[in-house]
Amino acid sequence: MARACLLFLGGLALLCWLGPLCIAFDPHRPDWQALSVAPGVGGHWFGTDAIGRDVFARTLAGGRLSLTVGFLASLVALGVGLGFGASAGLAGGWAERLMLRVLDMFSALPFLLIVILLLTLFERSLWLLLVAIGGYVWIDLARVMRAESARLREMPFMLAATAAGASFGQRLRWHALPNLLPLAFVYLGLILPQAILVESFLGFLGLSVDEPSASWGTLLSEGVQELDSAPWTLLFPAAFLVATLAAFQFLGDALRDWLDVHAVPRTDVERESAAA
């Protein structure tokens, strides 16, 4: 299942980036001769929208944007969450408690509301979008990293480093981060769909990218307006989004299982069988 999901997601990414090279239609150029054409007519596999733009080309272009923004925003969240969580867990004591309260504060804020305000008040740019989405998804990641880092803090090898005179920064760089990184990358697979979803949500509200560029979210909001005359303009981007999110979901479950299995073996028997 996990392998099938990975194949699907890989294939989708390839399609989004290489697909436009193979199809004749420009996602942004209207064709006034072919308004709201049904799927399959005139070489438009997914039909066209109200101003005659090819839905297939627009869906791929939207996917390119959604995946890119989702991936970059996840990386931003990964960096911030890993750094914050690892530091908090390793520090312990009042510093950790303070940083946890900061996390609580962020969780308590109606974050989407703030993001919407930000994007409405300031000039929209890719950077602002990345920061907004990354800021939304980093909190859970930071919590997980904090917990794991606190566990590492009590590990004898960390005590040994402290006893040898290692400073906080040395312990963070040499022991905490290298041991957290595999877990962080597994969590990348779990926060990516969240980031994509938030981006689509913002896009649906018209707060993501501006016309004529499109993400899956903006395509959905256009599609909703044409639901009566051309339902396919909603249907196809929605199907792509749902399939992508579902694939990530299954992948995330598999990653969680993998994490459970690869916990450190503890008992005698587990060691014996692990040694085999």
């Binding site: 006893a163 005179g165 005698d268």
Partner: protein
């Protein structure tokens, strides 16, 4: 009326982990299965119970009361419920944390059609105090020894004829361990249970079992009546296991690595060398009025403890779990938040230092921890681990540090060519050597060992103690050795401080403390540790179990 297992083999894929092995359980008799970790002794028990982890495959012929049963068949499943009981190693992990003891026992009793009221009788049978009240309590409200009694009662719920006890006491300290083993022995004698006792400690098993099997890396190396095996061990490995219990004094001329007599007679008889601990005006380490109170703990972990340690001297902090010995070790190292008191290294007050100044002083103290599996960062190569203290203090460049790592590995008896491997490629004993090499990286004056040998099996324990004694002699290291093991303490330390409930109750010359313990608590520790080995060697089983003597000397602890 016996349960026999013939030609047991355990495979994972094409690889054989265990066997071929024959074993027989007889009601009213005890079979000891001995081996170090990885020897397959737990696999034997789990095959018998049909509880092997997924991916492992057991083959063999199981016969009970003359009837053959195929391993892992439905008949085997029925058999293991009615005939076999299992006592786990870690009772805290084996008991359900959110259900009362009574609920857990009733579950099994009902499954076998017994009356609920039996639960109370069973708790009485395992000598748990206040059985009626215990039924309503949760596992975390009991001590380790009490939990193990509950686990035994739980195993008895299905009225088994055989009990399989997999390292039932390795999570317990020596005195409680004796009580649990005495209980199992009473069940064997009085109720005619067949007992399979699995342990890494041959002298311990020898005191209780009629027959022993010695396993090594999945192969049977020795089997026979306990008395014969102890009197005339056939295999070199068995001799090593028997001898490993006997550790001569550090002051003795023979040294730890030398030949040792049968069991503890060597320890009791040997004299401390003529040269006493060196005395100097300024001790290397001085700790005064150390106090530690953990949050929400009813009593302090450390209660006004002071100690001094001179250059080149070995001081053992001896005590049971919960006595505060590890807390004291960590407080002295300034690794413990909230500890009070003052610590001097030479004439520098460690407790007055902070930040960079404190970190710089840490060069002069090396530390070795208990768990060789967790004390090495799994993502670092051995060379990086060993040279990490040098890197921390910015000593030398990458090339010189690598060279130094090689030297250190040689010094602890490892091949420097192994420097590029990762920790998981080493055995427990080798890892502890790596940890010692790391502790020595900055040429410290003081080495603190926090239960450094208690996670190791007898063979490796002996080797590591010999290594520590050698390093101490050759480098003039002072050693602060935290342990619950009297024999280990005697092997590396000239002085022993006995801790109980956060206080030092007795401190003095190692030989004197062992031969002539003054405090009742020390006497109980000495009896619990040396009674077993002595009896196993002489074949005197009565003497091995003298619980009355032990109980009499430490009666006040009963109510805990």
């Amino acid at each position: 009326m016996t349960l026999s297992l013939r030609q047991l083999e355990v495979h994972v894929g094409p690889r054989r982990l265990l066997g071929p092995l024959d074993l027989e359980l007889v009601p009213g008799q005890c079979l000891g299965v001995v081996g170090e970790s990885g020897s397959g002794k737990s696999l034997a028990a789990l095959s018998l119970l049909g509880l092997l982890p997924a991916g492992l495959r057991a083959t063999g012929a199981l016969a009970h009361d003359g009837a053959d049963t195929a391993l892992t068949s439905r008949m085997h499943a029925a058999l293991r419920g009615r005939a076999l009981g299992w006592v786990p190693q870690d009772p805290l992990a084996a008991l359900h944390p959110l259900r009362t003891v009574g609920a857990q026992m009733r579950e099994t009793l009902r499954a076998y059609g017994h009356a609920d009221a039996d639960a109370r009788d069973l708790l009485e049978r395992v000598q748990l105090s206040h059985p009626a009240a215990a039924l309503k309590r949760f596992p975390h409200q009991f001590s380790g020894g009490q939990r193990q009694r509950i686990a035994i009662a739980l195993a008895l719920c299905s009225r088994p004829r055989y009990l399989i006890a997999d390292e039932p006491t390795s999570a317990l300290d020596a005195r409680i361990a004796r009580e649990v083993l005495d209980l199992l022995d009473a069940l064997r004698r009085e109720d005619g249970l067949g007992l399979m006792l699995i342990s890494h400690d041959l002298p311990l098993v020898g005191a209780y079992a009629e027959h022993v099997l010695v396993l090594r890396r999945g192969d049977l190396v020795e089997r026979g009546a306990t008395r014969d095996v102890f009197a005339d061990p056939q295999h070199a490995y068995t001799r090593e296991l028997i001898a490993a219990d006997a550790l001569p004094f550090v002051g003795g001329s023979s040294g730890v690595g030398g030949p040792s007599g049968p069991s503890s007679s060597a320890i009791m008889g040997q004299e401390l060398g003529p040269e006493g601990p060196p005395t100097r005006a300024v001790p290397l380490l001085r700790a005064e009025a150390m106090r530690m109170q953990y949050p929400r703990a009813p009593t302090p972990a450390l209660d006004d403890v002071s100690l001094t340690l001179h250059r080149g001297e070995g001081l053992a902090l001896l005590g049971e779990s919960g006595s505060g010995k590890s807390t004291l070790g960590r407080a002295v190292l300034r690794l413990l938040r909230g500890a009070q008191g003052r610590v001097w290294l030479d004439d520098v007050e460690l407790t007055a230092l902070k930040g960079a100044a404190l970190r710089a002083m840490r060069k002069r103290i090396g530390v070795v921890f208990q768990d060789p599996y967790a004390s090495l960062d799994p993502r670092m190569r051995v060379a990086e681990i060993v040279s990490e203290p040098l890197r921390i203090h910015g000593i030398g460049d990458a090339a010189s540090r690598l060279a130094k790592a090689g030297e250190l590995l040689t010094a602890v008896g490892l091949d420097p060519d192994m420097a590029m491997r990762y920790p998981h490629q080493f055995s427990g004993g080798q890892r502890q050597r790596i940890a010692i090499a790391r502790a020595l990286a900055c040429d410290p004056e003081l080495l603190v060992c926090d239960e450094a040998v208690s996670a190791l099996d007898a063979h490796h324990r002996r080797e590591i103690l010999a290594l520590l004694a050698t390093l101490k002699r050759e480098r003039g290291l002072a050693l602060l050795f935290v342990t619950h093991d009297l024999a280990a303490a005697a092997a590396v330390a000239e002085r022993i401080a006995v801790l109980e409930a956060g206080r030092i109750v007795e401190i003095g010359d190692a030989a004197e403390v062992l031969r002539n313990p003054r405090h009742a608590h020390t006497r109980a520790l000495v009896a619990a540790r040396f009674g077993i080995g002595l009896a196993a060697a002489t074949g005197d089983r009565r003497n091995a179990r003298s619980p009355d003597r032990i109980r009499a000397s430490c009666a006040p602890r009963e109510g805990q």
